[in-house]
Amino acid sequence: MPEHDTFDLDAAFRDFEHDVAGLSRPRGAVAAIATARRRRRTTWAGIAAGLALVTGTAAVAQGVATRHDADGPAGAPAPAVFDAAAFNRATTGWVTGWRSVHSADMAQMGTFAQRCVQDLGTDDGASNPSTPEAARAGDVVLTNAQTFSIAVGTFFQWSPAQASTADDAYAAIRTGIENCPAVAAHETFGWAGARGQSWEVGTPQHRQHLWLAEADHGVAVLWTTGGGSDGIPDQVDRRVMTALVAGLGAPGTYRRVLPSVTTHQTTSPLPTISAASFADAVHGWHSGWRREGSDAGNRIPCAADWNGAADSSSTAGLGGNGDQAYATFADPRHAQGALERIRTSLAACAGSSYFVPAPVQGGDVTVLVATGPRIVWAVAFKDLVGVVSVPAGGVTTPPRSVTTAVTGQLLATMTEGAPRGGR
């Protein structure tokens, strides 16, 4: 029950509610049902699942502001493949240093936006129309070692005879995005034969960015994390959109690196790094980790109580003999404290010798890598901490590329937000 001051605020609100009841004009449940059904008919399952890849993570509606100072109509950018090089050029002055990841796992990515998927109607296939199959599709997955960011783009293109499909898909996705929680419109763009819109997603503490573009009877969606809390510079926003539009017209953009979108249907209650994703991250590095098997459960060695002060936490196995754990703390200071507990516990680990160098900090991200009988990656980001532990198998320090990939996956999983527990 609400707490009470000597001033009876509850009574004031009760009076208020009573007064409003006499003023308001409900439109009725029938109207709500009709509107919901009308929206369902414009749902595009395939595209929406692609969008699910790139939206979400947040739960509090932040509003959708619309700006109309968009680019004026002009010739669309010339076709150019959208890849790491293109994105690095576009993000110059903001976040650079992106590199391609050859594959990632949709099941992991899919957890980014379970809530958004529901908003888009993909949680109920019964009302989805038979979406025309895209003539071709492509994905781009990029990670950034300097900022521990990730960018994921999805491209769909239909045949010229199905150009209206792209129009409808664009509209449906835009509506879906604007119905998603924690999305705020940033900019709209227009060219002759092409258009786009960008949004900021999440909170200033966990800011992400989202772009939607349509050109050449295709649609592209791009999602990124990182870039600091100041927001994306307008010129970078525009360059990214330009690169997306250019990418839609370039055949080389349409290469799939992600599994089929249909795998998205398998989402877990809490986000975790899948064995497939982790296998990609450590590809070429021979540790003691096994993808198959059931020997998980060692958790984080010598640091059993690292998350004792967490508001919420979760643990899970990782492949055959790895472990992962996540925790949300009251504030970044407590998260840093947890990372320090992991560090000191590993350094003092009885019966095992761990080499635990000082954590590396970059922006809001602190990364700890410990080596011993197991390799431990621990990442603190704002009020979140994520840890992965796998058997070392005789190897020592993992290469930087592996650490970058693993910490990138940890960050992506952590910022999905589900370890916060509650609802």
């Binding site: 000597t6 605020l9 208020f16 409003v20 308001s24 449940a29 919901a36 509606a61 119905n179 705020a184």
Partner: protein, 166 residues
């Protein structure tokens, strides 16, 4: 009408007034509050088979309506900034206490206003508000405390005296 639609209609009728009140308390505009509330029910219907199993399905709708209200309020604020003229409010005249409460709420920071509305009007526990707002319970308690401290004088009361609000 199918059984689930009938259930939903019953739910709608039973919870509408509180839902629209929550949105109104946030927005201060009845028409916009009705839009936000209706949107919440529109979103509830596709999920009704799940929401109807909740202990308090109305809480879900009130939370969505409150968020919609905040979202809508920002949209209108942006639009007005561009258009340079406020939208006339054609709603019926509310009670003077309602006017006072809405006016007072409008003077509070958004986070405090949302916390007060969710807690005192939507009936959320502090833990539920914290979960909805994705912040620690201590933060919500602080917002409620500050919000109340700011609101009560605006309504003509005192924080340590007798209530003076009608």
């Amino acid at each position: 009408m199918a059984a689930s639609q009938e259930d939903f209609a019953t739910f709608y009728d039973a919870t509408w007034r509180r839902t629209v009140a929550c949105a109104y308390a946030v927005l201060g505009e009845l028409g916009a509050a009705e839009e936000a509330a209706q949107e919440a029910y529109t979103r509830a219907w596709p999920r009704w088979s799940t929401i109807s199993t909740y202990d308090d399905p109305g809480a879900w709708v009130r939370q969505v309506a409150t968020r919609q209200a905040i979202s809508g309020w920002r949209r209108r604020r942006t639009a007005r900034k561009y258009l340079g003229n406020p939208r006339p409010d054609s709603s019926p005249a509310p009670d003077e206490n309602t006017v006072a409460l809405v006016a007072a709420l409008k003077q509070l920071p958004e986070a405090q206003r949302r916390a007060l509305v969710l807690h005192h009007l939507a009936g959320f526990s502090i833990a539920d508000v914290a979960a909805a707002e994705r912040c620690p319970e201590g933060t919500i308690k602080a917002r409620l405390s500050r919000g109340r401290a700011a609101l009560v004088p605006l309504l003509g009361g005192t924080t340590n005296g007798e209530p003076s609000h009608a």
